[in-house]
Amino acid sequence: MTFFIAALAWLADPAHYSGPGNIPSRLLEHLGFTLVTLVFASAIAIPAGYYIGHTGRGRRLAILVTGALRALPTLGLLTLVALWVGIGLDAPYVALTILAIPPILAGAYTGFEAIDRTTIDAATAMGMSGGQVVRKVEVPLGLPLLIGGLRSATLQVIATATLAAYIADVGLGRYLFEGLKTRNYDEMLGGSILVILLALVLEGLFAGATRLALRMVPPATGLLPELTR
């Protein structure tokens, strides 16, 4: 318990709320970093996932890639990219974008696949064009699973962004590595608590967003229930 009291004291110390590397600026850095990577990854993964889900083409490849990337160690990718492009912010951006793509891709295409075929057939039979089916049926009904994919990607990026402080001066992870180097356990623990709180807050927000998206889906459209939890 004494460890946590010391860490809370570190967190409450006003000296850590001003000057270079203060807690609010590191927190914003961490969040900004996460957001930018997610936007990059989404820009690639959502269109690709929608294409796969709509046409059914490239599904094998997508499964293979997402499966293989699960085994890929994040620290290995981070350090390797850092040696390639040099120390700085580019390396973590590249590495984190790569890591965020698979969950978003999977969320996008499984979102389309979870839709009952008869719903799509009905839309086509009513005279909707392919584009209309995508826009008016598949995208809205696929939303809960896409949000699920974004949720895993966000948690992944928050975690890996912490690790990214090993190769670049960025985000809340700095406190962890600074504390490690100077053997300051209060700082390490305080920083860790901040990252964990950030992850849990985002997890809660996404849980709410999923519930909201599910509520917008009409119950009769036949989404497979086991896929939408």
Binding site: R70, L72, T74, L83, A159, Y166, V195
Partner: protein
Amino acid sequence: MNWVWVNLDVVAGRTLDHLVLTVPPIILTFLIAVPLGTIARRYRATRGVILTAGGLLYAIPSLPLFIVLPAIVGTSTRSPLNLIIALTLYGVALMVRVVADALASVDHGVRQSAIGVGFSPGSVFWRVDLPLAGPVLLAGMRVVAVSTVSLATVGAVIGVQGLGSLFTDGFQRGIQEEIIAGIVATVLLALVFDQALVGLGRLLMPWQRAQAPSALTHRRHPA
């Protein structure tokens, strides 16, 4: 490539370290998650608590957990035991949901008829529930095994030796080959664990051979 041949003993040593870090959590995960998942399915009141706790635990980033855990359980940050406990927690967090869902998916009629022909509650669990839930449990354990092998590399930054040490060492000394060797070794080890579990599944569930692959693994089943 040269680095690998010269330092083959280093790679082998770190692989052994990695085995020590990853095999216990994978086994412990199964031993803890099955009873917990069974409780979650059987008693409605516990279901929400257990599954929510699992979900939240799984959301915690690994490095902060490796740092916070010693303050709670009293291990040293650099001790392999610290990593083993943390990896077990992640495994259980992922697996309880799988166990609860797998048991819930066992056909009600099959259970009823087992009870009807005189199975005791214990043998319903061991001889009906568990074998029928087996394929889904196996799929879940494959995910646990692969992510445990990959997650354990993070331990290197807090000083727990394993395949991740090849990343930190290679980064500090600027040796690309060492990092690549580490990545390849990690992926290969994950693949070996995965295939070992598939083999174990065939051995324990010979009736499964002809069935379709589960959606959980996102990977093609050889059958």
